[in-house]
Symmetry: C2
Subunit: 325 residues, 2 copies
C-alpha cells in the first residue's frame, strides 16, 4: 500500500521535474529573499512565472525577465513546479489554501511539486502537504539559512522535509539557489530543524553577550576572553565566527554598528515560532531559556533596534544605566 503510494509519488515527481525543465517554474513571494532567489532561477535559464502582493516586487521581477501573473492560483496553473517564499504561518495558509491559492480549483494539478522555502510552524507545513496530497500534488518544506546575501549569491542552505522522491525532485531546483540541500526527514522536519537550530543560536548568542559583558565589568581583555572561549568548552559559532563584542573581530556586524547580518526581528520571529511549536506540542514543552531569549530580543526590538543584527543584543546586556536607552 505504502510502497505503491511512494512509487506513484516517484513517478509524479519525475513528471514534475521533466515538465519543469520544459515548462516554466513558478515563484510566489518576490521580496528581499524571494526576489534574488527567483532571479537565480532566471539566470539558470528557466522561464519563471511569479506573483507577489507588492506591485513593486512584481515589477522588479518582470524587469529581471520574469512573467508576472495575477494570483498564486494562476502561477500554479501555469507551472508544474512552484517555489514559495513568504513571511510566516498566515501568509502560507492564504497562498496555499486560500480561495485564489495554489491549491484552489484551477490551480495546482496532479503531479505538481510545491516547494515552500518560508519558515513556519511544522504543523502548517504538514497541513499544506496534506492538502496538496488530496490534489495529487507533492509539497515539501525547505526553509533556508544564509540571509539576503545567501539569496543573492545562491549560497543558501536548505533544510528539507518531505518524502525521498519529493526531496530528490526539489533538490534539483534548490541547488540553483543554494549550496547545500539537507534532507531532514518527512514533511515538517525541515521546519523543525530550522526552528531548533535558531532556538539554540538565539540562546547561545545571548550567552556570549553575557560572557563579554561580565568580562567588561571585571576588567578582562575582550580579545583574551574570546581566545579562551574559542579554545575551550564555551566555544561556539556566536563566539568564534560572529562575535558580538565590538573590537574582537573584523568583518562581522559588531564591527560595523550591528548593520547587515540577521535582523533581531527575524530572530524574534523564529524564536516565537519555536515557542509556539513547543507550546502546542503534546505533552506541552517548556523552553525556559528560549523563552527568556525571546523576551530579551523583544526588549531590544521595543527599544527601536529590531532592524539591527541580533548580535546587537550585546549592547543591551552590557550597557550601564546611561547607555541602555
Amino acid at each position: 500500500m505504502w510502497s505503491t503510494q511512494r512509487a506513484r509519488w516517484g513517478r509524479l515527481c519525475h513528471r514534475a521535474m521533466s515538465s519543469g525543465s520544459s515548462g516554466p517554474l513558478g515563484f510566489i513571494g518576490l521580496g528581499n529573499m524571494g526576489g534574488p532567489m527567483a532571479r537565480n532561477l532566471l539566470k539558470a535559464g528557466h522561464e519563471v512565472v511569479g506573483f507577489d502582493v507588492s506591485e513593486s516586487n512584481l515589477s522588479a521581477f518582470a524587469a529581471a525577465g520574469g512573467q508576472a501573473l495575477g494570483s498564486p492560483r494562476e502561477v500554479a496553473a501555469a507551472a508544474r513546479t512552484v517555489v514559495t517564499m513568504l513571511p510566516s504561518n498566515p501568509h502560507i495558509r492564504e497562498v496555499y489554501l486560500g480561495s485564489s491559492g495554489i491549491l484552489a480549483a484551477g490551480g495546482a494539478s496532479s503531479g505538481s511539486l510545491l516547494i515552500d522555502c518560508s519558515t513556519c510552524e511544522p504543523s502548517v507545513s504538514k497541513e499544506v502537504a496534506a492538502a496538496a496530497d488530496e490534489r495529487g500534488a507533492v509539497a515539501v518544506d525547505a526553509p533556508v539559512s544564509g540571509g539576503t546575501i545567501g539569496a543573492e549569491q545562491a549560497s543558501l542552505t536548505f533544510m528539507v522535509g518531505g518524502s525521498d522522491s519529493g526531496f530528490e525532485a526539489a533538490k534539483l531546483i534548490l541547488e540553483l539557489m543554494g549550496k547545500k540541500v539537507v534532507h531532514c526527514g518527512d514533511v515538517g522536519m525541515g521546519q523543525a530543524a530550522k526552528l531548533c537550530n535558531n532556538l539554540v543560536l538565539g540562546i547561545s548568542m545571548a550567552a556570549v553577550c553575557e560572557g563579554h559583558a561580565l568580562a567588561g565589568r571585571l576588567g578582562l581583555d575582550q580579545k583574551k576572553l574570546a581566545d579562551i572561549l574559542n579554545t575551550s568548552s564555551a566555544r561556539c559559532w556566536s563566539s568564534d565566527t560572529y562575535n558580538p563584542c565590538p573590537g574582537v573581530m573584523e568583518g562581522v556586524p559588531s564591527a560595523r554598528g550591528y548593520t547587515g547580518g540577521f535582523a533581531c526581528d527575524l530572530m524574534l520571529k523564529d524564536l516565537d515560532l519555536a515557542h509556539s511549536a513547543a507550546f502546542s506540542s503534546q505533552p506541552r514543552l517548556a523552553l525556559p531559556t528560549g523563552g527568556l531569549a525571546l523576551q530579551l530580543y523583544s526588549q531590544m526590538s521595543a527599544r527601536g533596534h529590531g532592524h539591527k543584527d541580533f548580535s546587537g543584543l550585546y549592547e543591551h546586556i552590557a550597557a550601564g544605566p546611561d547607555k541602555s536607552s
Copy 2:
C-alpha cells in the same frame, strides 16, 4: 617606580623558583582535585609539604610520599612556593588570611610565590594578592579546567591572573600539573576568564538541551539535528563534543546516564560566582540568561541530581509530566 617594583618582583620570583627547586613545594587542599595535582608534583621529583582539614586526605597525601603539616601557616613557613586548591571564597580567605593562614605572622615570607588554583570571585583573588604584596610575597590566581581526570593525568588548563614575572614563575610549577597555562591578565583575571567561560558554557548547554527537547517533540531525528547544529550557526562544544541527548554521541556523560564529567553542583557553584561578581560590579550587571541557567541547574540539583553531569539538564528540560521527578 613601577619598573623598580617589577624588577624587585622579578628577582623575588626568580629566588622563589630557585629555592623551590632546592627546598620543598607546599600544597594546601588535597581533595579530589588537589590530591592528584600534588601527586603529580611528587612524581616530578619535588619534595612536597601539605595540609588539608580532612585527616583522610592528609593521610593519602602522606602515603603518596608527601609530608603532612599542621596548618597553612606551617606549610608557608616550610615552602617558598605554595599551591592552594580550595572549594570557594570563604575557604580561600581562611587559608590565606586566617590566624593560622599562609599570610599570618610566621607564615609566608618575602619572596614567596603563592599560586591559588581554586575558583573564586576575582575580588577575593585581588584581596589575597594585596595582602601577599604587603608581606613582599607574590600571589597569582590560576583556576583550572579539566576536572578530576585532568588533575590525575596532568592535562589541566590553567587560567592565570598576575604580573608577568609572577606568571612566568607560576608557569614552571603549573606545567607539572597541566598541559596549557594561559596568561589572562593581572591578578583576578584568571578567575574572570574562568567565570566568563563557565557562564557561557552553562547557558549554551541549556540551549542545546532545549533544542534537542524541541526536536524530540516535533519528531525530528536527534542525530540529524546534531548534524545540522554542528555544521551551522548553532554549532557549539555542548553540541559537537559533549552532546547532552542520549543516543547522539558515544563516550560522553549522556551515553552513560550522566555519570562522570562535570557535576551539576560544580557548574552551579561557578554560575553562582558569576552572578555574585556581576551583582557586585559597578555599575551592577544583570545576567538574565545566566541567572535563569543558575535556577535551572538549581532545580536539577534540588531534584537530587546535583552529583550528575551538568548535561543531565537535558532530562529535566525534555521530560514529560511523568518523568520529571
